[in-house]
C-alpha cells in the first residue's frame, strides 16, 4: 500500500539525544515555506509518538515563532508534568539552532461521562451537493485537501467589498485518509485568512498562535473514518495588525470533533 503524503509529512525519526528529526514536506508547501497546519501536526506528533505518552490529546497550542524553512527540523517534547490521568507537554521545534515553534499539549485518559454538543452543526447541503471550486488552487498544500466551499470561500473578485468573515465548507484529506489527531490538527488550520474574506483584499498574513481543543476521542475519529468534516470559521476582531479566528469541525454524523482558535498577523 502506498504511504499517504500526510504520513510521510509528519514522520519523525528518534535521535539518540531524545529529540526527533523531521523534514518539511513539498507536498504540503504553502506560498512560502510549509503549510502551518502540517507544522502543527508535526509538533503534535512529537507527543503522539513519545514513549511516555499518557492518554489522548485534549488541547494543543502551537505558536509559530518564525518562518519554517523548507528542509529538516528537530523537535523536542518534554512531559513537564504527569498526573494520574493527565499529562502536560512542552514542545519546541528547532531549525539551524533557533526555535521556530513552541507548543504545549495536554493529554488525558478520558472516561465516559454525561456529554452534550451545545454548538450544533449548522444546516447545510450534503457534500455531494456542493461543488468543488471551478479553478483549481495552484498552492501545493491546497491540492492535498478536498474542499467544497458552502459559503465564504475565497473571494472571486478582490474589490474590497467587505462582508461577514463567516465561512463554511466540507473538507477531507485528498486522497481520503482515516482521520486521526494529527490530521485533525492540520485541518484545524485549513481556513483561508479571515481578513481576505472580510476585506476582499489580499494583505500579507501569518498565523501567530493556534489552539485546538479535541472533543473527540480516538474511537470517534475511527468512526469518522475518511468521511467529510464540516468546517466553520469566522473572525471576532481585527485590530492593529492581528485578528482572531474561531472555528468548529463536525463529522458528517453531526458530532463536534474540534473547536479551534487562532490569532493571525496581518499587515496594513
Amino acid at each position: 500500500m502506498k504511504t499517504h503524503p500526510f504520513d510521510k509529512a509528519i514522520k519523525l525519526v528518534a535521535q539518540d539525544d531524545g529529540t526527533w528529526l523531521g523534514h518539511t514536506s513539498a507536498a504540503y508547501g504553502n506560498m512560502v515555506g510549509p503549510f502551518g497546519g502540517v507544522t502543527a501536526a508535526q509538533a503534535l506528533n512529537a507527543v503522539l509518538v513519545h514513549p511516555q505518552l499518557l492518554g489522548e490529546p485534549i488541547s494543543l497550542t502551537v505558536n509559530f515563532a518564525a518562518a519554517v524553512a523548507n528542509g529538516p527540523f528537530s523537535v523536542q517534547a518534554r512531559a513537564a508534568r504527569t498526573n494520574r490521568s493527565t499529562q502536560h507537554w512542552i514542545v519546541e521545534m528547532i531549525q539551524a539552532g533557533q526555535t521556530v515553534l513552541t507548543a504545549t499539549v495536554v493529554t488525558a485518559v478520558r472516561r465516559e461521562t454525561w456529554s452534550l454538543d451545545e454548538e450544533s452543526m449548522p444546516a447545510c447541503p450534503l457534500p455531494e451537493h456542493v461543488s468543488l471550486p471551478k479553478t483549481p488552487n495552484p498552492i501545493e498544500f491546497v491540492k492535498r485537501y478536498e474542499m467544497r466551499p458552502i459559503m465564504g470561500g475565497m473571494p472571486e473578485v478582490w474589490d474590497a467589498s467587505g462582508h461577514s468573515s463567516l465561512s463554511q465548507l466540507w473538507v477531507r484529506d485528498e486522497p481520503p485518509r482515516p482521520l486521526d489527531f494529527a490530521a485533525l490538527s492540520a485541518i484545524a488550520d485549513i481556513f483561508f485568512p479571515r481578513v481576505f474574506i472580510r476585506r476582499s483584499t489580499l494583505v500579507p498574513v501569518g498565523t501567530v498562535s493556534m489552539t485546538v481543543y479535541f472533543h473527540a476521542n480516538g474511537q470517534q475519529l475511527k468512526d469518522t473514518g475518511s468521511g467529510y468534516l464540516l468546517g466553520q470559521a469566522r473572525a471576532q476582531a481585527f485590530r492593529n495588525g492581528f485578528f482572531d479566528q474561531t472555528s468548529q469541525l463536525w463529522n458528517e454524523a453531526g458530532s463536534l470533533l474540534v473547536t479551534t482558535h487562532q490569532v493571525v498577523y496581518y499587515k496594513e
Copy 2:
C-alpha cells in the same frame, strides 16, 4: 495610597538565578487553592516584568498542570525567540520542585492598521441598571470582583433543569482598579464553569488550559480605566470529562478587548 490586593497578588521578586518568586494570595482564594485567573496573571506577569520584554501581549496560553498549593512559587520565563517585532515566551511555574503550570506568551510591537470588530457587543442594560446578586458569594476571590449578572448567572436552584450555557455579566475589579494586561487575563477566567449552568448541577471541575487573545493595546486599556467590562461566555461541547468555553470581554464603549477560550475538566 493603599496597594490594591491584585497588585499584591501578582507581585514577583527577582531571584539571582533569573527566576521570579511569588506567593499565592489569600485575597484571591478559591474553594481549594487560589483562583486560576490570578495564577494566569502571575504567569503572564513573569513576562511583563522581564527586562527582555518586547512589545505587549497578543496571546497567552496557560495550562494548569496541577493544583497550586497556597504558599510560595517560583516562575521562570524564557524568550525562546525574539524577532524584529514579535517575541515568543515559554513560562513554567514550580512548587516544591514540580511543575504546576506551563504557559506560552506571544508579545508584539503593534502598529496602527485597518481595524474592525466583527463580534459586536450584545445589547444589554447598563451596569447601573443591573443588580448585584442578592446573596453575597462566600468564596474569597469572588469578593474581589464586582459582578452584575445579566443572564446565565449561577443557578439559584440545583434542579438539573439544564438550559443554554450562555452567560452575560458586567464585571470589574473590587475595589475598582485601572485595567491592564494582568488584570484582563484574570478576568478572562471569571466565568463560572459552564457545566454548572448547563446542567444546574454541581460537579467537580477544573480548568485545564486557557487561551487569551488580547485585541486591545495598552492605550485602549488605559482609556478603559476602571470601567465595567461586559463579559459573555458559552460552551460549545461537553464530552467525556472535558468541556470548552468561548468568551468575549468588551469595555463600556463597546470595544472588544479580549476573546478567550478554555477547556475544563469535569467529573461524571
